[in-house]
Amino acid sequence: MSAPAIWIFVPFLVGGIILFFIHERFSAAIGGTIAVLLSLSALIFPIDTALLVGTVSLKISASVQILGRSFIFSTADGPLLAVIYGVAALWFFGTQASGTANRFVAIGLMIVSLLTASIAVEPFLFAALLLEMAAMLVIPLLVPPYQKPKRGVIRFIIYQTLAMPFILFSGWMLAGVEASPGNIGLTTQAGTMLGLGFAFLLAIFPLYNWIPLLTEEASPYATGFLLWALPMFTVIFALDFFDRYAWLRTSPQLSSAVQFAGVFMVASGGMLAATQRHIGRMMGYTAIAETGLIILAMGIKSAEVVHVTFLLLIPRGLELAVWALGLSIIKREAFNLQFSDVQGFVRKYPIAVIAILAAHLSMTGFPLLAGFPSRLALSQELASQSLFISFWTYAGLLGLLIGALRTMAVFVMAEENSGWVVNETWIQAGMLGLGVIGLFILGVAPQVLQPFISRLPALFEHIGQ
């Protein structure tokens, strides 16, 4: 058995089977269990290394060839695969509680497998195609059957599609840059192309306007999944670029541009979040600001780039899952999710509200919650490099905090003598409760991520040197 077959083709096939043959009631359990099994197997079984079980020697081969392209996983990919499928499992288990339709799990598994393939594919530029395919598969999740796609969905697919030619074109030019590194004109063109490609993929300002539109008009759970999955794999793809091309790592201008883009996203995302009156859009802008933090992390001049980046990326999956699940539950009663519609909801949906607030505060970097350790680490790295960038990052986080506090105020402003009622089902309460506990565990003891994070730098061995 080969690693790509296990972590790419199996989930894709299972996704297809669930889509066409499995009843909605069982899809979450089956999809979640498959994802957990894939995650555990990535942790337990080393890739491309013989494992002796009694007298039997097992070995998961590293690569497979399809249509002349290779899909390769190395031993170092194990923790990354474990993280990907571990977080995906959270999303799939949560679908039943969120009331999302059957196809979420099926298509979600397919999307994750395609995105996983983007890590493994060689030549690695083909990752752009796989990312585009994954983006296209997201559409059925965002648009309910027999309905026209709205503005946010259309912009999303336009921007993701525009990214692909830029990336592919830059890849072609990068080969030329490697051959003649002194050609400044070519370097500039390649860098610009690459920057534009990733600007579209990562939704860098002003290309992120589809995110708040989407969080307003589409299912919060599906949007949350999208906001976790695509940036995560895009970041890994970007790190791969940095790792492969020395001139990208060493270019001070590019480093400045990355930091500028990151800090602009954090500051603008924070500012816009602070002034929102829609709790769905609030999640969108917070996700934007956090993507900005991740971009900032990628731009720091430190040996800890990979550590800090993944310290931000991994909790993001849990934060968005908890937040999106809470929103999905509340959206059933307050369809618009405007402040005026959700006022006093803490007494109707206390667990969902607590979960939303915990996730929101976590993404602002509130101590004790999952987002705090990563933000602390990032702020220390940034502070040692630039007080100016630190200030604007801090201002952006302050904006997010204001947004969180405004949301909190709206949720708790219940009418006098309105009693406390728990309207969440036990599955919803259980999922949200576990999610909130997870946020606290990651906030108080971030070392639980250490088994995953410690081995990740091996994937990007040139970065941070």
Binding site: G191, P206, S379, L405
Partner: protein
């Protein structure tokens, strides 16, 4: 290890109480368990003296390359008084609870003990990261307790506003980290660069409602005696303990007077409102503001021991008064020891308060002190609205006075021994002036209408006339709001795609001109 042990005793006792309440709701010895646990915790804190100074560092967070500061606690001559005060307060809350109508409120006792455990961790936190974590735990506890206790949108909103100011205090501490690291220093209490200490003072001041002046809570809060007192005072101690850690060198800044002025303004305002408060619980927020402002002023003057003295006074003297719900002549007289304790007279708890000459600000400090003392004496001697001790059951008549007496005893004890500010002659001249002024105020209170009690009110932006910092901040917020609305409408509207591409072209041209 002793620090964690003392906190653990509090936590384990609290968990035991909750478990008992859930699984054996009718149990009759829950109070005894709470009492036993608290006695044990207080004893363990007293035992700290045998090992002082000692520290505990847990290299808990990984990777250590990123998290260089461990989770660390330290017991020394400046935070031990806080630890003793908080433990004594917890015991006092339990002892005085025996006269409450809803005596067997196990959850309230558990909450008090858990708060005290957190308080111990906060006052012994040896670096800002540890303090941040404990502050957050306290703030969340307070938020949840308050939200469960209040009714109506307006009161709920006030709770969130109070939480917001505390979180902003946390934010200032994080910013101090950024400033410290950007200067090439580590983020701990020892190696802080000049000027960074001001952020810490501002953080503590903001959390206490001193800088800028605001009342974290309205006086209408349902959480009154017992748990309410514990909540307020533990929270205050956790913020004030930070002030004792700030190195004097890190306060070297020309901005110090600009922080001292609002701090003293808050102190005088708090003292004035405290003097005129109709009762001690209504006046409690002003007591806290007034004493906290004095503590901040001491810290800004570079007098850590003085800051601790005011902080402990806030807990011990305030605690004894706020927990007094029963009328007894001897207890009222015992409470007057508190007036001595805040007098700054030699060998009093606050004798070390003005070891550093406050210079120009001296008269304002004396006025605040006099207002606070006069208010305290007035509230301590007030008998109306309290039941008599004589009508209580026999065992409560014995236990209750111990609760009040314990805090009074602790004031005397800390004035004489156990920490850096004990057995001090101090600066006796301002103490005598403040004492005379106090007698003058006590004489004038029943004679002049201006000193008559008024109903306490919420000090918020709505009460302020004319321009204020709040109005300025609100103006900024409205501007940002308009700006963000314009950006959103432009980019998300029909022409949004074209605008986006236009911006993109602009950025690309800027980048390429920059030489990328």
């Amino acid at each position: 290890m002793l620090i964690v042990l003392s906190s653990l005793i509090f936590f384990i006792t609290a968990i035991t109480l909750v478990a008992l309440k859930i699984y054996q709701p009718g149990i009759r010895y829950a109070w005894l368990i709470a009492f036993g646990g608290t006695i044990l915790a207080l004893t363990s804190v007293l035992i700290w003296q045998a090992q002082m100074d000692f520290a505990l560092a847990i290299h808990f967070w990984q990777p250590v390359e990123l998290f260089t500061n461990p989770i660390a606690f330290r017991a020394d001559g400046l935070n031990w008084p806080y630890a003793v005060s908080l433990s004594a307060l917890a015991l006092s809350v339990l002892l005085t609870a025996v006269v409450n109508p809803n005596f067997s409120d196990t959850f309230t006792w558990a909450g008090t003990l858990a708060l005290s455990g957190l308080g111990l961790l906060a006052v012994t936190a040896d670096n800002p990261v540890t303090l941040l974590l404990v502050w957050s735990a306290l703030d969340l506890t307070e938020l949840i307790s308050q939200l469960r206790a209040v009714e109506g949108p307006s009161n709920s909103e006030k709770v969130v506003i109070a939480f917001s100011t505390r979180v902003l205090g946390i934010g200032l501490l994080i910013w101090a980290n950024v400033v410290s690291v950007s200067s090439g220093n580590s983020f701990d209490f020892i190696s802080m660069p000049a000027g960074a200490g001001l952020y810490l003072v501002a953080a503590a001041g903001l959390r206490m409602g001193v800088l800028p002046l605001h009342l974290p809570y309205s006086s209408e809060s349902n959480l009154r005696r017992g748990f309410g007192t514990s909540l307020r005072l533990v929270s205050a101690a956790s913020s004030l303990a930070l002030l004792s850690h700030i190195p004097t060198a890190s306060l070297a800044s020309p901005l110090v007077p600009f922080l001292l002025i609002p701090a003293l303004a808050a102190a005088i305002y708090g003292g004035w409102m405290w003097l005129r408060a109709p009762d001690e619980l209504t006046g409690r927020p002003y007591w806290i503001i007034s004493l906290a402002a004095l503590s901040v002023a001491s810290a800004l003057s570079g007098n850590s021991a003085g800051s601790v003295a005011w902080g402990c006074s806030l807990i011990l003297i305030g605690g004894s008064l706020f927990l007094t719900s029963i009328q007894n002549v001897w207890l009222n007289r015992a409470l007057l020891v508190g007036a001595f304790s805040i007098s700054t007279l030699p060998f009093s708890l606050t004798a070390s308060a003005w070891l550093n000459n406050p210079g120009f600000f001296f008269p304002f400090i004396v006025i605040t002190q006099a207002l606070t003392m006069a208010g305290y004496i007035r509230h301590a001697l007030r008998s109306s609205g309290r039941d008599s001790l004589d009508v209580q059951p026999t065992w409560t008549r014995t236990v209750y006075p111990f609760g009040i007496g314990l805090l009074v005893f602790m004031q005397i004890l800390l004035g004489l021994t156990g920490w850096n500010g004990a057995r001090q002659i101090g600066s006796w001249l301002p103490a005598i002036i403040a004492s005379f002024l106090t007698f003058g105020l006590l004489w004038a209170t029943p004679r002049f209408r201006i000193f008559n009690p008024v109903r306490a009110h919420w000090a918020g932006p709505s009460q302020n006339q004319g321009p204020s910092p709040y109005a300025f901040l609100w103006g900024i917020y409205r501007f940002i709001s308009q700006l963000s609305k314009t950006i959103t409408v432009t980019l998300e509207g029909d022409g949004g795609l074209m605008w986006t591409l236009l911006f993109l072209v602009l950025f690309v041209s800027l980048m390429t001109q920059g030489g990328l």
